[in-house]
Amino acid sequence: MIALPLSALIVGFLAVYLCLPAVPPRWADYVAIAILAGLDALVGALRNWLERRFDEAIFVSGFFANMVLAALLAYFGDKLGVDLYLAVVVALGIRIFNNLGRTRALFVTARVEARRARTAAAQ
């Protein structure tokens, strides 16, 4: 079930890495921001899935919209001479860490509850 998305990740990476030229360096920051936003959406989806409130439409729209918005925000920040780039990096970084922590907690709780249920069943 996870194999298909995972292989898509690798295929996408290799296809672009091997076939497309590098983008101009001044774009690199915006691409980095977009990647961060995409990662944030992915981790958020994982958490929502564990909390059983995963919604596909919200996930897909959030993934693309956040990516574009984050890059746009950084771009306008540069145009205005404000380092909004840093604000986006910090905000997304904190969100990713929060969601990862929450995901870990949910995993552990699920494990503990499963074991408790098993011992209860055995008794």
Binding site: P5, F13, L14, V16, P25, A28, G38, L39, L42, E56
Partner: protein, 248 residues
């Protein structure tokens, strides 16, 4: 059951699309970073570093060129000196011209002046710190006094003053001949010791003003001082010799 399965399939497809896009973006970024790592270090530092090393290399090359040309000049001069008469006279004239241009080190009697910022720096009674540090105009004033008193060669922190020398200030740094110097300052001047001393020590003169504000001023006459040559010679790009023949 069937609906759950269908939902699941859907979910995997959208996840796959998302992962494909994310993978592509990662590919772009890794590629770009690899290309960028070769030319730049950070967002800005890299470019500045490379510009600095470039400028330093250029400076080295130009200084080598100066050395080469000076050697050549000395060679010509030696050849010329071995001949007699008019050539000898011209050699002498050339020697004087080179002293005036500051191309060669010169020695003779004169004065050495050591200058450092005021000891009243911290907690001074007047305005900011500006009052208690040595400025470009202080050095200009002292150099002018020395020239006026008949100094024949002057240097500030090893920078020879010649006809085209500028003493300027940019961003709180003093530049002499376009070379940045910083305190404490040592001025050397060759000339009549007595005249030079009295020119600087004149009442209400440059040093008097500095002494009142407790600048560290040390003025000494010396029997033998050496003033170094100018480090970068002047080039004449626009000025050309002009002879007024017809109106004589």
């Amino acid at each position: 059951m069937a609906t759950i399965l269908a939902q699941r399939k859907h979910w995997i497809i959208s996840m796959t699309v998302v992962c494909l896009v994310l993978g592509g973006l990662l590919g772009v970024q890794v590629h770009t970073q690899q290309a960028r790592g070769l030319t730049e270090v950070g967002r800005q530092t890299g470019a500045l570093i490379s510009r600095l090393t470039e400028a330093e290399a250029q400076l080295d090359k130009q200084q080598e060129e100066i050395e080469r040309l000076r050697g050549l000049l000395a060679e010509y001069e030696q050849e010329a000196a071995s001949e007699k008469g008019l050539v000898r006279l011209m050699t002498e004239e050339l020697g004087n011209a080179r002293i005036a241009l500051g191309l060669i080190p010169v020695r003779g009697p004169g004065i050495v002046l050591e200058l450092a910022d005021s000891t009243m720096m911290a907690g001074g009674e007047f305005g900011g710190q500006d009052v208690y540090v040595i400025h470009d105009f202080d050095l200009v004033q002292i150099a002018n006094e020395l020239w006026a008193a008949g100094a024949e060669a002057i240097s500030i922190n090893g920078q020879r003053l010649v006809s085209g020398s500028a003493i300027t200030c940019s961003a709180r740094l003093i530049k002499v001949n376009d070379v940045t110097i910083s305190g404490p300052f040592t001025l050397k001047a060759i000339g009549n010791k007595k005249n030079l001393m009295s020119a600087l020590n004149i009442r209400d003169g440059a040093l008097d003003r500095l002494r009142v504000l407790q600048f560290q001023v040390k003025l000494m006459p010396e029997d033998e001082i050496v003033v170094p040559p100018i480090s970068v010679g002047s080039r004449y790009e626009y000025a050309q010799p002009f002879q007024k023949e017809e109106k004589q």
